[in-house]
Assembly symmetry: C2
């Protein structure tokens, strides 16, 4: 197909496709004339993936290039070639500087988290950005004076793992690598606000049941209007 | 206690305490001299809560005032007096304008969500901001061409509810209203990044197991370095 058809079928403007070509995010087509190239289905697939990495995944061009480099490298296994995309999703969390006062709490929490993952036998690379994000979040809880005990974290981990297994099973319904990467990026990012909203609604229900409040509850003393 | 002790014990600067007093977020103390007032433990509790609403909860002064107004109103039941704080937590999502093209998908998804909550018998007020947030998130998934079926949403809801029940049980360990509100704000907001990070780590483990990848996996073809 020509560039115009590639653009039309992918929903990506011609100008943007040319940009991706210049940036090396898309392989050149087969030259047909001095000015036109021919593109195949693999270009359409790759284009759709690039778009997902940049827009849904919020990646920079360099990050997208890194993801594609690993995806294209047969030396890596399927798990790594698909999973690298999730490493490029935000947010990127850095530990405090060595020697900074907050570093001590960071190291303490990091050690507890590593011990917990070992206990749970979770196969996670040390470089997984979500590890640093988890450590940072737990240090926030503790430094504000709230509980952030590994017993709590373990309960969440055990409750979330079955959900994650099902999600990975859905990703495995995409046997073409680019589509599996795209689905991974989409499911990881787009479902986060769904999970957070459902959790808040579940809290509301659980609280209503315990205190006989909420719509129709015996103790419903009135519905506060959520203003401003 | 004097203002200086209230400041010292709460960790809130004298200038900020005075600001809260001016804004009506804190009740005046009992005047002792023309220039000094006396503050009690209830001021310390209220001050701690105000700080949590504004900093951890990220609320505006007006939102904090609304939370406190409901908290102080005995006409409301416990469930509402504690829960109103979660209504003031971000993000605030508005439906598309009536008549806008996106409104049709919104209404369709909103109807499906309401039907699901009825089926699950979740006692949630129509005004719950998390409802709009959930609808917005699902419309995003669908308008980008991904699955966002109620069957998926139901599975997440059922898996998350037990976690939510345990969290509400922890909140109930704070029988003093201000402390329960503060704990609710803290657990709702500070644990969100913990849950999201744990989900990503669980994905990584589930994927490693399915594809025999990851640290020590049979198919570990190399560890991609997460750059930039």
């Amino acid at each position: 197909m020509r560039l115009s058809e590639l653009s039309a079928r992918s929903g990506v403007s011609v100008a943007t496709v040319k940009y991706y070509l210049r940036e090396g995010l898309l392989a050149p087509g087969t030259p047909v004339t001095a000015r036109q190239s021919d593109y195949g289905e693999e270009h359409l697939r790759r284009l759709r993936l690039v778009r997902a990495l940049l827009t849904v995944g919020g990646m920079t061009v360099q990050q997208a290039r890194d993801v594609l480099a690993v995806a294209d490298d047969p030396a890596f296994g399927w798990h790594e070639r698909v999973g690298i995309a999730t490493y490029m999703l935000g947010p990127r969390v850095e530990p405090p500087e060595e020697g900074a006062p907050e570093r001590e709490l960071w190291d303490e929490v990091a050690a507890e988290v590593r011990a917990l993952l070992t206990e749970l036998d979770w196969r996670v690379y040390d470089e997984a950005p979500a590890l640093a994000a988890l450590v940072r979040a737990i240090t926030s809880v503790r430094s504000l004076g709230y509980r952030g005990e590994m017993a709590d974290i373990r309960r969440y981990a055990l409750a979330l793992h079955p959900i994650a297994e099902e999600e990975v099973a859905v990703i495995d319904g995409y046997p073409v690598l680019e589509e599996a990467i795209e689905a991974t990026v989409a499911y990881t990012t787009l479902y986060e606000p769904i999970l957070l909203a459902l959790r808040r609604l579940a809290h509301e229900d659980a609280s209503a049941r315990r205190h006989e409040g909420g719509p129709g509850g015996a103790e419903e003393g009135g519905r506060p209007t959520a203003t401003a």
